[in-house]
């Protein structure tokens, strides 16, 4: 491989490594809490019912503003984070079942119906047992609705605390490309490292030749010129 190609590849590699290292650095910066974004709630879920979180989440989340929740349940419960606003969910339910009281727990089959009518609406689904910590940062502007569903035959108690977190860039999103970019960048610099090592090995030998009185070929040529 010619010296020029080696230089081009190695410089591409070092640029990739530099960009990757910037991502690694950014991934190490922790998120900060959005002011006055704390919310909490608790509910008793009868068997085969679900509730919609009535508390804080009225503003859309952004790729830099994520939802953090600490949830405790005493029985198997499912958490859904829907990428639709509460208003939309309420309107959809009321349009079909106008007699329903939205403040109380609703029949779980209604949620199933909603999810089958909106198959892409569940941005996250998690089966909760005991204490769970959940963090959700969307990759676009998104209205969010948190739903707890109890599909079991036992009554479940749910209590949760949450807040909004503000990220420079979510660490996973920064680290995932860095995991590829940095090794690829390093691999591209390997030919240059090898040739640099060869040069370093050759240099002392050249000095020995010069010391013994014989001139290296290149120097002789230069002298002739």
């Amino acid at each position: 491989m010619s010296k020029r190609w080696i230089t081009l590849l190695s410089r591409t590699g070092t640029v990739l490594m530099a960009a990757g290292l910037a991502l690694v650095l950014l991934s190490m910066i922790p998120p900060r809490k959005v002011d006055q974004s704390d919310f909490f709630g608790a509910a008793i879920l009868e068997p085969e019912t679900f509730i919609i979180d009535q508390t804080y989440l009225f503003e859309p989340l952004t790729p830099q503003n994520g939802l953090y929740m600490n949830i405790q349940v005493n029985s198997s419960t499912t958490l859904y984070v829907l990428n639709l606003g509460k208003e939309y969910v309420y309107h959809w339910i009321l349009a079909r079942f106008p007699e329903i009281q939205l403040s109380s727990a609703l029949n779980a089959s209604l949620l199933e119906e909603f999810l089958s009518a909106h198959p892409d609406s569940a941005a996250r689904r998690e089966d909760l047992v005991g204490e769970t910590v959940m963090q959700h940062v969307p990759s676009r502007l998104m209205n969010v609705t948190v739903v707890f569903s109890n599909r079991s035959m036992q009554t479940a108690s749910v209590s949760y605390r949450g807040k909004l977190l503000n990220f420079i860039v979510p660490s996973e999103r920064a680290l995932n490309p860095a995991k590829f970019v940095v090794p690829i960048g390093f691999a591209l610099t390997i030919p240059w490292l090898i040739s640099a090592k060869k040069r370093m090995v050759a240099k002392p030998l050249g000095n020995v030749v010069q010391a013994s009185g014989a001139m290296p070929q290149k120097s002789r040529k230069a002298e002739a010129q």
Binding site: R4, V15, A19, L23, E59, P63, N65, L141, R173, A174
Partner: protein, 266 residues
Amino acid sequence: MAKGKPFLEILASSLHGDYKFPVLELLAFLFMLSSLLFAYSGHEPPGTPEELAVMNLSKSLLGLPLFILVMLLLKNVTTGIGSDLERGTIQTILVYPLRRRSILTAKLFSAVLVAVLLFLGIQITALWILAPDMVSANPTAVFLTYVAHVSPTLLIAGLTLLFSLILRKGSAAFVVGLMMFFIVTMLASLVSFASQAMDSVFLWQLYSLINPSEALHYHYVSLSPYGPHFWSPVLSEVLLYVGASYAITSFLFVLSYLYFCRRLSV
């Protein structure tokens, strides 16, 4: 000697001069770091079209890196070409069996194209890392935002190149380029004030010929139910301004080529 070899020789020497190790690496690091550090996906009011949110996010990423790009282009154009003229090293380059326009192309490829490609590559990667779904759902908004914002930067680079060739002094051309940059930046505030005072969009239309990002901004803001509707250019009008600004930029580069090929005596 193969036909392309002298071109590559000049290109390689220009690249070496413009981006000595670790300049390119530091730029990549700074572009990535500053792009994401200043990114702001904001609280958009409900009903905001996603194109507007994407444009605002892209604009927040552009701030400091765009300034770094302007400085880099000014430095490359004035030290790469202006200083060659100033020190007389251009005579050595002109000895190559190559047309003058090819020599200038090789120089500009290194000074402008490599820098702009690095900048755009890192910016769009950073944007995609931050909000992949927003970017993939609105490629037109992302493309137009970058095309519109890079345009005045290239215009300043073109002007600086022309001044470098005419003045034959890299440092003087750098100062002129820097002044141009500040003037173009300040004009936005001046035009905004004057347009509202005169209750006319004519100044905005005129300014958009050199900086079409303003027309794009007003276009997307006009799609929002909350935005001001002082000026609501349609997309085809915005494209016209973008095209006009690139035509002006191209004209400046063509003038530089003509001057370098026909008028410049060394």
